[in-house]
Amino acid sequence: MALLEVKDLAIAVAINGRLVPVVRGISFEVEAGTTLGIVGESGCGKSLTSLAIMGLLEGSQVRITSGSIVFDGQDLLALPPERRRAVMGADMAMIFQEPMTSLNPVYRVGDQITESILQHRRISRAQARERAIELLRLVRIPDPEGRIDSFPHQLSGGMRQRVMIAMALACDPKLLIADEPTTALDVTVQARILDLMKELQAETGMAIMLISHDLGVIAETCDTVAVMYWGKIIETAPAAELFADMAHPYTRGLLASIPVTDREVDRLEAIPSRVPLIGETVTGCAFHPRCGRARPVCADIDPAAIAVSPSHSARCHFPGEDSA
């Protein structure tokens, strides 16, 4: 059994008392020790999915309307709040997009790391502090004994993201959810953080769920990739297979819109038009108004996932065809 099994997960936002669907029934699995990448543009529902798995939707306007999330054999959505919190920050941990604002500015980083340890482990403050120093060393922060008493504003963005990672690793999680962990960092720092995550995965054997809008980041780090569009997973495959042979026109469009440096281009490829708005109704395939290979059937029938190979599927009536 996979470490994390998400089945038919649907999420809706309450707007003026009406539930507007945002994530429309997605299913995927994360095997222990592997990395799943979820890619898609802003508003496709990838962040909401990660927050739903982590259990951070509570108290907001967002509701899980159906589906199940089974983690390590436990149905997370059926757990009482107290037992749910026992999983959060312990077996499952999360890092966020904005390292500049994700740490509490009024507490020293050491206190913020030990808070997590003391919440889940029965150890003394002194032991927790030892562990925190060890974690800072693990995420390659120089002079961890000195840095542990720094306030977040005394650290750079890259350092803060390292602290966030240290905090997430505090209780040896089985799954690390990383929601755009490098988006707010500059490129050289990005690469170092991604390398660090890969190294830590090799050392600890944890699984990673990486959410990104950046196909480059995904290609570098993931074993499996799920591409989301308008609240659905429209293509999923092992990373090597996906990048070798993209079946869905949207995935191809995403790749074509990345700037390349090895040849000269006048202008970047863009996917025409825009994503349908939240709450907008679309008949047929949600991508068909923007699709180069769309035919009449695409406007009428929403395609089911079609297997391109045993491990590769795409929600397209004409997977793998070249665009017209």
């Binding site: 919190r85 959060m88 509490n104 500015p105 009024v106 997590s116």
Partner: protein
């Protein structure tokens, strides 16, 4: 922190000097010769001239200022025209009432303002929140004298639970029980300010609640109450602390009204009566004391601010 404190203390000096110049000139802005005012209508011009010389009023004004300032620095604000006793003794007479009233009021503001504000924010949108917000709105807009009169009517006249006016010192018979005289006045004085704190705590907690680091705290699996206090309230306190300085300024002027409504022998009453009696030395003394107090309170607020927010002292 120590260097910051020292720097702030040093910054008080020019402000105090400026305040002292204003307070000193205040008497000279009033038409007429202070010596003539002192001696009354029946004084002969010779008497007035003699007193003027005795008081140093014939000297240049800046010399007068420095002489006055020299005395003021030693706590000597001259003699009250009305009481014929040193101004400092007159002020000290009202100080007990005013200090106790201020302390009780601050206690009310804190025990009413903070818990209700926190509850209002953590149960945002519930009936608790609506009741608290509505109540806060009401009490923030009710004038102090009106509330005071109503409290007297209900709790002193109808129910007879508390005395309606006056305050015998806690050194008199009854001891600390005499504080019951200050219960209604302190509640009157606290109501609008506690209401302000409720609204402020609520608003800043709701602001902080949306911040990313609160999500991080929740992701650690902390109990919601712990997140609310340790991460949300603690950070919201930074802006609430800043408001305490303003609250204190409001308290001073509201205390004058409250002490009058409840006939309390405090400094506020003293100011009002001294103005009516044209007792300028007392007015000068009281204003200077209030200015000093206000500056000290603001210094404490700023230090608290730097202590609450580690990002401040570095700037």
């Amino acid at each position: 922190m120590l260097a910051y404190t020292f720097k702030r203390l040093l910054a008080l000096v020019p402000t105090l000097l400026a305040a002292s110049v204003l307070v000193f000139l205040f008497v000279h802005l009033i038409p007429g010769d202070p010596a003539a005012v002192l001696l009354g209508d029946s004084a002969t011009p010779e008497d007035v001239a003699r007193l003027s010389r005795e008081m140093g009023l014939d000297r240049p004004i800046y010399v007068q200022y420095f002489i006055w300032l020299g005395h003021a620095l030693q706590g000597d604000f001259g003699t009250s025209v009305f009481f014929r006793t040193p101004v400092m003794d007159v002020i000290a007479g009202g100080a007990e009432t005013s200090i106790l009233l201020a302390v009780l009021t601050m206690i009310w503001i804190i025990i009413l303002g903070i818990p209700i504000g926190v509850m209002s924010a953590t149960r945002h949108g519930s009936w608790v929140d609506q009741l608290a917000s509505g109540g806060a709105m009401l009490f923030a807009s009710v004038p102090t004298f009106w509330l005071g009169l109503y409290l007297i009517l209900i709790f002193a006249v109808w129910l007879g639970w508390f005395p309606s006016s006056g305050f015998p010192s806690i050194h008199e018979e009854g001891g600390l029980l005499n504080l019951r005289y200050l219960l209604l006045p302190s509640l009157t004085l606290a109501a609008p300010n506690a209401a302000l704190i409720i609204r402020l705590v609520r608003a800043s907690m709701l602001d902080v609640q949306r911040e990313d680091h609160v999500r991080t705290a929740r992701a650690k699996g902390l109990h919601p109450a712990r997140v609310a206090i340790k991460h949300v309230f603690r950070n919201a306190l930074i802006s609430v602390a800043a408001a305490f300085g303003f609250t204190f300024a409001a308290l001073i002027s509201e205390a004058v009204v409250t002490e009058t409504v409840f006939s309390l022998p405090g400094v506020g009453q003293l100011v009002v009566q001294s103005i009516l009696r044209r007792d300028y030395p007392v007015i000068q003394g009281v204003i200077l004391v209030i200015v000093c107090l206000y500056m000290v309170i603001n210094l404490i607020v700023d230090l608290a601010y730097a202590w609450l927010d580690p990002r401040v002292s570095l700037k």
